[in-house]
Symmetry: C2
Subunit: 222 residues, 2 copies
């Protein structure tokens, strides 16, 4: 618990991020590693969702986690409790990770014994959407208390995500959140998005999401 | 309602943001205008809090609002319902506003008949904290569903805010959120922070916050 490995990520000096992301993705393909980039705003339940996802998949896949955080190591400690390999990436105030920063993380994590590497990106709905990290799939979490209008306000994030997890559905009775309306906004931005409704705390809906992810990983690494 | 003025903000080319922020603040002081910079993550209730604040103060102060948003004009329309002057600032994907971008907004708003100008910044706990906008005071909202650990994870934002509003206290029974623990984390980052607990939707706690703000404005513009 006290031995979380903390990596200080250096800001990239490279301008050709898309090209470098594509190169990282190709290298991961060759090594048989699937990289998932998980994004959301602060407090939407990324770490809890990640723990539930790990528990659903750790007997099927070898998992490694990179927790990107500006400063603390709160999240990496929580992930370490699941027993999977995890490291903390400190971004030194940076609001996103690009492909080169992700590569630094992948290198430190050491993916020789990993099928599924998960990057928990910085909590932010704006900047992370603008940088291809080299991930095979992007996923994001929108929690019920944030409101069903978020796809209208952060369109880029919703348009680049392959999967959208609507989390904290246990508190639907206490918020004005219309799931069907929200799905409509998401599909308007991104007709191919897979939308899952979950409660990470209770585990509701996690199986369907984990099955989808497992299927994507299996296709990639076979 | 359909006549929300939308301003396309241009990205600044200036490197000396702190100096430009100080200059804007001095100009506002001369003109007798108080600028409040309101920040939070997406979905914490900025617009609802702003509406409640406006309703509490609009008979005492002449208010003007700048709604910064990446793309939509959802928020400016809601503010227009309160009857105060409001404009929408489109940041074109930018994740924050700096002093020069704020100056463009102030110019478009026209503050000749404004005592209190409020900038609703882009929903983001990272980047907006790094840029002095020229505001007299910074305030932020943390909503209960986001979790009481956020001051640990976004320390810069909490350290630069004069006031922290803990919002959505009506849903405290449904979340693991310890107000005293959260206050402790905030004071650790920022011993001088004023912390208010509110429910913007019901109006609970708004009077105390509005009184504090009114007092700050009156000191500044007298």
């Amino acid at each position: 618990m006290d031995e979380v490995k903390v990596i200080e990520i250096k800001q990239s000096v490279f301008k050709n991020n898309d090209e470098r992301a594509e190169r990282l993705r190709n290298e991961l393909k060759e090594k048989g590693v699937f990289l998932l980039n998980l994004m959301s705003s602060p407090g939407s339940g990324k770490t809890t969702t990640l723990k539930a996802t790990i528990n659903a998949l750790k007997d099927k896949l070898r998992i490694g986690v990179m927790e990107a955080d500006i400063d603390s190591d709160v999240d990496a400690k929580k992930i370490a409790e699941t027993g999977v390999k995890s490291i903390q990436l400190h971004t030194g105030g940076m609001c996103h990770l690009d492909a080169d920063m992700t590569r630094q993380g992948i290198h430190s994590l050491n993916t020789d014994d990993v099928d599924l590497a998960i990057l928990e990106n910085v909590g932010n709905l704006v900047c992370p959407a603008e940088f291809d990290t080299g991930a095979v799939k992007n996923a994001m979490i929108l929690s019920v208390p944030e409101g069903d209008d978020k796809p209208l306000k952060y369109p880029l994030m919703f348009s680049i995500c392959d999967a959208v997890l609507i989390n904290k559905i246990d508190v639907l009775p206490y918020f004005d959140f219309d799931i069907e309306k929200c799905k409509g906004y998401i599909y308007k931005r991104n007709p191919n998005a897979k939308v899952f409704t979950i409660c990470a705390k209770s585990g509701e809906g996690i199986e369907e999401w984990a099955d989808w992810l497992n299927n994507e990983v299996t296709k990639w690494i076979k």
